[in-house]
């Protein structure tokens, strides 16, 4: 009797403790029973008449980037959508951990009419999980969205599944990541933009050793990154594309190929000579940007849109600054090809359990018109900007929001920006448009990424010979059936 009691008590205690610890995920999974009977329909469960009057129709949106910068502004933002579309809009914009909140909301049966997603791998997973409506018919029949001037036809390929069906609508134009260099430092040290790996090494070494910030202290680094995230601009020198490349039907990961060995050795040399910021392994995007903005590092690899924002931020701080960030092309590969990383698009999905899919569709059209784009970029009229006789003027609030309320840049070529683009941004976007290509994230990439990143960082920081690191990557990837060769 006693051992049984002990065992039973232990199960209860262990269970209680465990599920207190992981309560979020388990509770949400557990409370999904009521949703099991929802049956997806092919075009978004059109339970609502498309011709229904918007008056009184609700629209519930879950967004990660789109919306106000503060809860108060977010409310104004929702009211502005209501004003333009006529739908009684609720806009929920979690302050953090957006992806987890989306998953929790979906698994607990929450019903949204639109959800913003920023990741193709998540879209593919959501399609498999029966979450996403097929919007092919809607997009092709929409006079707004089918117009190539609004969204170029080729761009829709990004949001198609294997059967060619479209599952989302873009919320903004997504650019590419590229080497971003301190142009003022290059000019000061009489250096030109690097076009080979050797030239890049010399530039980074000069940034480290020649006191480019002029403070008389050896406190600068040539390069920093945020882990392995964005080194595509440099790996391009060996013709290596990030993530998966399918060759003759076989899955390969170029970063785990023998061709990557000299590249990791090159990074290890930078590490050894103190040219590469030793914190690159633990940096996140914000830390990397701060190092660049505070004259600690001469080159980062980052988004095209940030070229302009970095320039603006320094200009706001000091109108007389000489700081000038510039995006440069990746280092060309042996055959002259320049590889750049096109970012996963930001897009809206209509969940299959949406209660007002027609309202969602009307919003998607609105979002790609001039009014929608102005709201998504400049923000709320009267709060972020004023409009007088056709002239836009940013308020102090609007200036601090950097003309980004989820749509810093957009596809619609018929909508011209109300203000000139930030310095350096046009050149960076031109590079992105010319060279950037999407990466292939096959199923299993998240597991593969852990293996590749683990050994690549060891090789780059000099903790492990590059040859051994690549051999270990290949061995583990093959053992886990994550590559074919």
């Amino acid at each position: 009797m006693k051992p049984k009691f002990i065992a039973a008590a232990s199960v209860l205690v262990a269970g209680t403790m465990l599920f207190t610890a992981c309560g979020n995920s388990t509770n949400s999974n557990g409370s999904n029973a009521s949703n099991t009977s929802s049956s997806p329909s092919s075009d978004g469960a059109s339970s609502e008449s498309a011709s229904a009057s918007p008056a009184g129709t609700k629209l519930r949106i879950l967004a990660g980037n789109v919306g106000g910068k503060t809860p108060e502004e977010n409310e104004l933002f929702a009211k502005e959508i209501t004003k333009h579309t006529g739908f009684d809009t609720t806009l929920e914009k979690p302050a953090s951990d957006y992806d987890q909140k989306v998953l929790t909301a979906l698994s607990s049966g929450e019903k949204y009419d639109l959800i913003e997603i920023s990741d193709i791998a998540t879209l593919n997973e959501f399609i498999k999980q029966g979450v996403v409506s097929d919007v092919t018919d809607f997009v092709t029949s929409s006079s707004v969205l089918s117009d190539p001037a609004v969204i170029p036809t080729s761009e829709w390929e990004q949001l198609k599944d294997a059967d060619g069906k479209i599952h989302g609508v873009f919320s903004k134009f997504q650019g590419a990541t590229m080497p971003t260099v301190r142009k003022d430092w290059l000019d000061k040290l009489n250096l030109k933009e690097p076009t080979t790996l050797d030239e890049l090494y010399n530039v980074l070494k000069a940034f480290k050793e020649q006191d480019p910030d002029g403070n008389g202290k050896p406190d600068t680094y040539g390069l920093t990154t945020a882990g392995l995230y964005d080194i595509q601009g440099i790996m391009s020198a060996a013709g290596l594309k990030a993530r998966y490349v399918v060759k003759d039907g076989k899955r390969t990961i170029p970063y785990a190929s023998d061709a990557a060995i000299p590249m990791y050795e090159w990074f290890a040399k930078l590490s050894k000579e103190g040219i590469l910021d030793p914190n690159f392994i633990t940096n996140d995007g914000a830390k990397m940007r701060n190092l660049f903005l505070t004259d600690r590092v001469g080159m980062i690899t980052y988004w095209d849109a940030w070229v302009g924002m970095l320039n603006d931020l320094r200009k706001q701080e000091d109108p007389n600054t000489t700081f000038r960030a510039a995006g440069i092309p990746s280092i060309p590969g042996p055959d002259g090809t320049i590889l750049m990383r096109r970012g996963d698009p930001d897009f809206w999905i209509i969940p299959t359990n949406a209660e007002h899919p027609d309202a969602a569709k009307k919003f998607l059209e609105f979002w790609n018109t001039k009014e929608g784009i102005t709201l998504g970029s400049l923000g709320v009229e009267g709060e972020d900007y004023t409009l007088s006789n056709g002239t836009y003027t940013l308020t102090e609030e609007g200036k601090s929001h950097n003309r980004d309320h989820g749509v810093p840049y957009w596809y619609n070529s018929t909508v011209k920006p109300a203000f000139e683009k930030s310095p350096g941004i046009q050149e960076a976007q031109d590079l992105a448009t010319k060279y950037a290509t999407l990466e292939v994230a096959l199923p299993g990439w998240k597991d593969a990424e852990k293996i590749v990143t683990n050994y690549a960082l060891k090789a780059m920081s000099g903790q492990m010979p590059a040859k051994d690191a690549v051999a270990a990557m290949q061995k583990e990837l093959k053992a886990a059936n994550l590559i074919d060769e």
């Binding site: 599920f19 557990g30 979906l106 997973e125 999980q129 990143t453």
Partner: protein
């Protein structure tokens, strides 16, 4: 007889209802639901067919699961041992301090990290351990030791986790030990002094044996926490050391939330329950907990 007893103590049973209800709703229902999910091909929407033990098989054949288990055992045992002995030593030392203000101040300072979340403590330690501007490496540099990238070196990763967890909870466990020390009958010390016992002998032959029951409770409670380590790793892990520090709860989180393999995550969490149960039974047996 039993019915009579229930009638007699009916008020106590009524008072229990909210607690029992709480556990039924927030612990046992999710537990049962989690078991159900672990047996399904679970999708966020649509059909969720039962697939038997496939999710459990997938977990058992996943090398990341076994690596996570190894990491959990290493880090968990490390935190268990250091988190037990370090505060015990500090509590015994503080017990020897006569200046009351110093004792109180020391307890306060030691306790503060326990009040902070892992987001704060993790961020602090990542900063302290930075290779170029971190406090620890600046001190190492002063004594002629080359900088160590603690947060990027697998050899250090687990020890950083053990050290920072011990540091964070030192004050809490220390106060539990001090509470135990205070409750020791003063006449035992008086008798020891009359027998000529030194301060060390008083600690060795009076304090420590009298503290044994408190130690057992703290040890058991800390043992229960081994497989629940999550917040710290979530905040402090990075891709360079993940292979050596990602624990079972991180594996469950990663499968369930990041990779949306919810059935697999549920199956992994049931392994965690089994491990915790086994560990708890073992610890009870070893510490002879029932004799407390």
């Amino acid at each position: 007889m039993e019915l009579k007893s229930i009638k007699k103590h009916y008020m106590l049973y009524i008072m229990m209802v909210p607690i029992v209800g709480y556990f039924l709703l927030f612990a046992y229902y999710p537990l049962a639901k989690g078991l159900q999910i672990s047996l399904q091909d679970y999708k966020l929407m649509g059909d969720r067919p039962y697939i038997g033990l496939t999710n459990y098989e997938t977990v058992l054949h996943d090398p990341f699961f076994w690596q996570s288990l190894r990491n959990t055992v290493f880090i968990g045992i490390g935190i268990l041992l250091f988190g037990f002995f370090a505060p015990l030593v500090v509590a015994l030392s503080l017990n020897e301090v006569f200046k009351s203000w110093f004792k109180k101040m020391a307890q306060l300072v030691l306790y503060i990290p326990h009040l902070l979340s892992w987001v704060v403590v993790g961020g602090m330690w990542i900063f302290f351990l930075s290779p170029d501007s971190g406090l620890v490496n600046l001190l190492l540099k002063e004594i002629g030791i080359a900088p160590i990238h603690f947060m990027a070196d697998e050899a250090w990763g687990r020890w950083v986790m053990i050290g920072s967890a011990t540091w964070k909870d030192m004050g809490y466990n220390c106060i539990l030990f001090l509470a135990g020390i205070v409750s020791i009958n003063p006449s035992l010390y008086e008798a020891a002094r009359m027998d000529g016992a030194s301060r060390w002998q008083q600690a060795r032959y009076v304090t420590i044996p009298q503290l044994m029951n408190t130690m057992k409770v703290i040890f058991l409670l800390n043992t229960l926490g081994i497989f629940r380590i999550f917040d710290q790793i979530f905040v402090m892990s990075n891709t360079a050391i993940a292979n050596k520090v990602d624990v079972l709860m991180m594996y469950t989180f990663s499968k369930g939330i990041l990779e949306i393999r919810i059935g697999q995550a549920a199956a992994a969490s049931f392994f965690v329950i089994v491990f915790t149960l086994l560990l708890t039974l073992m610890t009870r047996k070893l510490t002879r907990f029932d004799e407390v």
